[in-house]
């Protein structure tokens, strides 16, 4: 007689179903593949318009260690890069690329697109493409985006959609410039900027958490408010007295001893504004906060399942308030970068949509601080590329180049990332 313990037949292990490709994954794979093939084809077509050799200058005229300038044939390089991209795209479409190979192939394709595009655009130019400038410009442009993305990551992990990063930037930029001008102190300007960011965040928190206003509409309104107030004050107060109220000091570059002497990378990465180093530090801090501390665990729990958090005694609203305010702190630093981190002065709408790009970085980085920071770098790279190519007299209208970062955003969000899953309770007000 068989003696089978019925309980031994029960299964406590996690369920592992046989899995075909999910519909979402399939769509993402096909659209990525299609996109890469299209990019490759465009690049290959463009290649025939190349006007000779393309030169890449690895160091600029001021470099302490002069590096060679690399010259490649424009047409052949663009053509090769186009084919390479198209082949990777075909790999995606066929479904043959899997696992880590797929990631690497995507990275290779990304580099090929960038390199091929530069080779085409820079071909026949009188000046070589300044690689060092490209790197350092990427860092410079990405820094405020990194801060903004961190603000978004904190808010949205706690379940508050933050469309108003732009507004937080703008008010903080204005405050930094004004306070810097009046006091002449950079520290005071930075602190004032952070306070301004927090104040804007407090408005967001008040209306979204306490008064349950639709968070997207609220964000848009806050942006308009920020633009209106700073514009008004600028016209009425600042501009007439710009010598005293709009002449903030600039943050000096700080070279990190030793590291800044590395050829090519040193000047680009290790001779920057203190805010750049602060941004890197902030990414690490936010990542540790979110994933290694009690506070972070609670923040993520109220963004995923606020009822569950409530039933273990976590104050959902207070936790959300805290996350939004801390986010405002980082947005304030990002805003300060536009004025005292740059020329020192404020002009109307100086942030020109960077807050929205930061929001895109949050989503493309799938609500993770480190991934979002890398996305911010990507946007910085594309923006810098556009301005470099303008000065190289690239064979395309300058308006198109100005459009490039935004075009890249749409393409990247639509094609390369696909749908990603955010915090479940993101944007859902908590009411008992």
């Amino acid at each position: 007689m068989t003696t089978v313990d019925p309980m031994s037949l029960m299964d406590d292990a996690p369920i592992h179903l046989e899995v075909t490709e999910s519909r979402a994954a399939r769509r993402a794979r096909l659209s990525t593949g299609g996109l890469l093939v299209a990019l490759g084809a465009v690049l290959a077509l463009l290649a025939f318009g190349a006007r000779g050799d393309a030169a890449f200058a690895l160091s600029d005229a001021f470099a302490t260690v002069p590096l060679p300038t690399i010259v490649v044939p424009g047409m052949a390089t663009a053509l090769m890069c186009g084919f390479l991209t198209a082949i990777v795209g075909a790999g995606f479409l066929s479904g043959k690329l899997t696992g880590s190979l797929r990631t690497w192939a995507a990275v290779v394709a990304g580099f090929a697109v960038a390199f091929g595009f530069i080779a085409w655009a820079g071909s026949g130019s009188a000046f070589p493409f300044p690689v060092a400038n490209q790197l350092s410009g990427t860092i410079v442009l990405a820094t405020p985006l990194v801060f903004g993305a961190l603000a978004g990551v904190l808010c949205e992990n706690a379940g508050v959609v933050n469309v108003s990063i732009e507004g937080e930037f703008l008010v903080a930029a204005f405050t930094a410039a004004t306070v810097g001008s009046i006091t002449g102190s950079l520290v005071a300007a930075l602190i004032a900027a952070m306070a301004a960011g927090v104040a804007m965040a407090a408005l967001l928190a008040l209306f979204s958490i306490k008064y349950l206003v639709d968070q997207v509409v609220l964000g848009v309104v806050l942006n308009l408010l920020a633009s209106g107030i700073t514009g008004f004050l600028f016209d009425q107060l600042i501009q007439p007295n710009s010598a005293t109220l709009n002449a903030a000091p600039q943050l000096p570059r700080v070279a990190i001893p030793g590291l800044s002497a590395i050829p090519l990378l040193g000047p680009a990465l290790f001779n920057q504004s203190p805010l750049v180093y602060l941004a890197v530090l902030a990414v690490v801090v936010v990542a540790l906060l979110l994933y290694r501390t009690r506070w972070g665990l609670r923040v993520r729990s109220v963004g995923e399942h606020p009822e569950a958090a409530d039933t273990v005694g976590i104050n959902v609203r207070r936790t959300r308030w805290m996350a939004v305010l801390v986010g405002g702190l980082f947005a304030g630093l990002g805003g300060a970068y536009f004025t005292i981190g740059s020329t020192g002065g404020f002009i109307k709408d100086i942030t020109v949509g960077n807050g929205f790009i930061a929001l895109a970085a949050v989503i493309m980085g799938r609500w993770h601080p480190v991934r979002a920071a890398f996305m911010a770098l990507f946007f910085g790279f594309v923006t810098q590329l556009a301005s470099q190519l303008q000065s190289l007299n690239a064979p395309m209208p300058s308006q198109f180049l100005l459009m490039l970062p935004y075009l890249a955003t749409i393409v990247a969000v639509a094609g390369l990332i696909g749908r990603s899953r955010g915090p479940k309770a993101d944007g859902v007000p908590y009411t008992k």
């Binding site: 029960m10 075909t20 490709e21 273990v312």
Partner: protein, 470 residues
């Protein structure tokens, strides 16, 4: 119960613990007073691990210490005999294990009183046995247990004392040896016939045929894997199985809401595998969705509007672009009468009705036209005993008119009451098709994936097993 746990504030009255009145402004105070709650919809963060869920709210310091927390989970789990994998993500765990985590969460807080809110709704019979054992051992440890359920069988199996509530008021006390009929009468307020007066089925020819059906869920998991069966006109085929074994996707595929990967669906010989829901409905399929609240009706629409939701272009109710409100209203009045829908007016929004009456509206809508096949998922979930009686009778009446009925249910009581044949599903595959008088233990084992012959043998080998489900 939410008042007891500090989630809602009472308007009046008091909670007395150890002789002293207490009020809880929030769950933290309730927990401090020793009250632990096992919620019907688990209060677990899906994307967190078991350990993270258990330490949430009592992290023991500003910096997380996952090592210590994991050790505490293992201690708790072995102390109470509830095995869990500390590092597994909650969303990957079977429902029964998720519930274990929910119980451990309450115990981790040194709860002295445990409130179980409808804990068995999502469990297999074996998991229910497990839960009952856990509840008994907790009681023997000196914990007080409040077990909220509408399943009479479970109440009688485990309770030391029974309190019956109806519409927010206590209507009576009962002893565990009270009969099911007495309990049901207390719950409903009138005598309830728990047996469905059901004549033997007279199956005519096959009306619904499913062949080698494969369906993937949205994440790409094959959740219906090579399923084949027939349903004849005039018979009820019950699909039994634990929640999440592919029944929902099977029903969705039959309706045409999900396109199957492969396989064939034939209704009266016509292929529906590639048909849209509209085409399927027009061809004569009635569909009662599993999740009434989200898929069954439009909450802000009136009862009358909801009653013609799938017939809004019929000549009877519409002329060209215009709706024929007179006819819609007459139809609603007739259905209200016929289906005993308890509503003030048919122009009230359906959201104002009780669960049972909402379900009556849905069933009335589906049965108010000639059907070839009726697919009903969980038609009596969250419905009071009185309405269950009514809904069951209507489904049997539909069968007797020659409709093929496919009934998806996770409630063995319902399966036993209605089925002419029982199809047991486990992880998307067919375990077997058995007669409805198959012993519950055997059905339970089959729902855990054990084939019929083996399940019968196992059952015979363990005759002394405590019997909680018949």
């Amino acid at each position: 119960m939410n008042v007891l746990y500090g989630l809602l504030e009472p308007d009046d009255g008091e909670i007395i613990i150890d002789g002293s009145p207490r009020t809880f402004a929030n769950p933290r105070e309730a927990m401090a007073a020793g009250i632990g709650m096992v919620h019907q919809h688990f209060m677990l963060v899906d994307v967190f691990t078991v350990t993270e869920n258990l330490m949430l709210g009592r992290e023991g310091g500003p910096v997380l210490n996952p090592g210590a927390a994991r050790k505490r989970v293992q201690e708790l789990s072995s102390r109470y005999g509830m095995p869990v994998e500390p590092d597994a993500l909650v969303e990957d765990l079977p429902v029964g294990v998720q519930q274990r985590v929910e119980i451990l969460k309450a115990l981790a807080n040194d709860a002295r009183f445990l409130v179980f809110d409808e804990p068995t709704a999502v469990l297999t019979p074996q998991e229910i046995d497990d839960l009952m054992r856990v509840m008994q051992s907790l009681r023997d440890e000196g914990k007080g247990i409040v077990f909220i359920t509408h399943k009479l069988r479970e109440v009688r199996a485990i309770a030391d004392r029974i309190t019956v509530m109806r519409r927010g008021a206590i209507v009576g006390q009962a002893q565990p040896h009270s009969s099911e009929a007495d309990l049901a009468e207390l719950m409903v307020g009138r005598a309830v016939d728990l047996r469905v007066g059901k004549a033997p089925a007279h199956p005519a020819g096959t009306r619904l045929a499913v062949r080698d059906l494969r369906v993937a869920n949205s994440a790409g998991g094959i959740v219906v894997d090579g399923l084949s069966f027939d349903v004849a006109g005039g018979e009820i085929l019950c699909v039994a199985g634990v929640q999440g074994n592919g029944q929902s996707e099977l029903a969705d595929a039959l309706l045409g809401n999900i396109a199957p990967l492969s396989g064939e669906i034939l209704m009266d010989g016509v292929s529906l595998a590639k048909a849209s829901p509209h085409a399927t409905i027009t061809a004569g399929m009635g569909f009662v969705p599993e999740d009434r609240e989200t898929d069954g009706f439009v909450a802000s629409f009136s009862i009358a509007e909801n009653l013609i939701l799938n017939r809004s272009t019929d000549a009877e109710f519409a002329t060209g672009l215009a709706l024929n409100w007179g006819a819609i209203r007459d139809n609603a009045e007739a259905r209200k009468e016929e289906f005993d829908i308890r509503a003030q007016s048919v122009s009230d929004p359906i959201s104002s009705l009780s669960g049972g009456n909402k379900q009556k509206v849905i069933l009335a809508r589906e049965l108010s036209r000639p059907l070839a096949v009726l697919v009903a998922s969980q038609p009596t979930r969250g419905v009071d005993v009185g309405a269950i009686e009514f809904l069951h009778k209507r489904i049997v009446a539909e069968r007797d008119q020659g409709t093929a009925v496919l009934l998806v249910s996770t409630e063995l009581d319902e399966v036993e009451a209605l089925a002419d044949r029982v199809l047991v599903m486990y992880r998307g595959t067919l375990v077997g098709i058995v007669p409805p008088d198959t012993p519950r233990e055997v059905l339970g084992l089959m729902m855990a994936g054990v084939p019929f012959e083996e399940a019968t043998k196992v059952e015979a080998a363990t005759p002394t097993k405590e019997d909680f489900h018949g």
